[in-house]
Symmetry: C2
Subunit: 186 residues, 2 copies
Amino acid sequence: MGRWEPDARGRLRQAAMELFDECGYEQATVADIAARAGLTARTFFRYFADKREILFAGSEELAVGLTAALDTTAPPLDAVASALEVVAELIGGDHELSSRRQTIIAAHPDLQERERGKLAAWSDGLAAELGASGVDALTASLAAETGVGVFRVAFDRWVAGPGDTGLPQTLREAFTQLRAVTEPRR
Amino acid sequence: MGRWEPDARGRLRQAAMELFDECGYEQATVADIAARAGLTARTFFRYFADKREILFAGSEELAVGLTAALDTTAPPLDAVASALEVVAELIGGDHELSSRRQTIIAAHPDLQERERGKLAAWSDGLAAELGASGVDALTASLAAETGVGVFRVAFDRWVAGPGDTGLPQTLREAFTQLRAVTEPRR
DNA sequence: GTCTATAGGGCGATAGAC
DNA sequence: GTCTATCGCCCTATAGAC
């Protein structure tokens, strides 16, 4: 056994979620969270760049999985839609958790901004990957930006609802509707 | 003449832009900005909720103008595109200013997050307006989110470029390309 | 790990305009 | 008197420097 309890990162996340539930996001200070995890505030910042970031841990892995799931031989928007569906499978397993998390985020503009930033990073990653595979820059940006926008809409609908329709299914429906919305008049 | 110089808000903005140019965004403290405007830090926060906000003053008026320009009798995405074009006319007049501002924002993730938030507010406003005019919620959200995404892509291309092609024109091109990207295979 | 600067909020005092 | 803009001082938490 090591000198320190293992999984400091996980303990911090656990402590944070507990305290956010008990006292609210703002009331729970970084020092409080660290103390409950048996650590100091200084150590908190070794694991998370700032206080907000602890609610978005895991987003990095999703971003990596997202670009990895991108089939660059398919038409750009189809490729983006399929890759996002993979992510939807991963996230969509726990409607209860997503819902609780979203409730906290919805109450704090700072957190909403951070979430937008995370999704923006997905978009940038997708656009870069598409561009690297020969898609022209404008098309790549539009496909990535639009696809992630559809994901955001679908995710919001899914967390707001009862969750009996799965996230991947909600996402597919949103993409279908997007095609209708962008259909040129004839 | 009053006890105070007029237009404290404008003086703060002026002082901030000067100091950001001279010392960079982070180096210029709120106290510095306020002092140059002949005010104190405490007063700064009466006018701007936080330091970042001073770079986004005026965004509120644009949001209002955006929803006001929305022709709710047109098909949703067309309506959104036209309204955004009006905003593009307003912003697109000063490529030099937009470029300088964007350089500061690009260097600071915090500011990028804030900018995303401002555009998200545009999107929410558009979706709400569309919904109020009888468009179903999913369609409204998708049209608004997608349209603002196209605007973001177009704006980025415009500020990165030399600016000889106007922002409204760049935006129209991006919307045309969006139709191609979302075109179903036949 | 400790030390420190800055962001940002709370509250009351002040000095005018009306 | 009321209202409004500003200041001053104290405070805490964040986040970065040492």
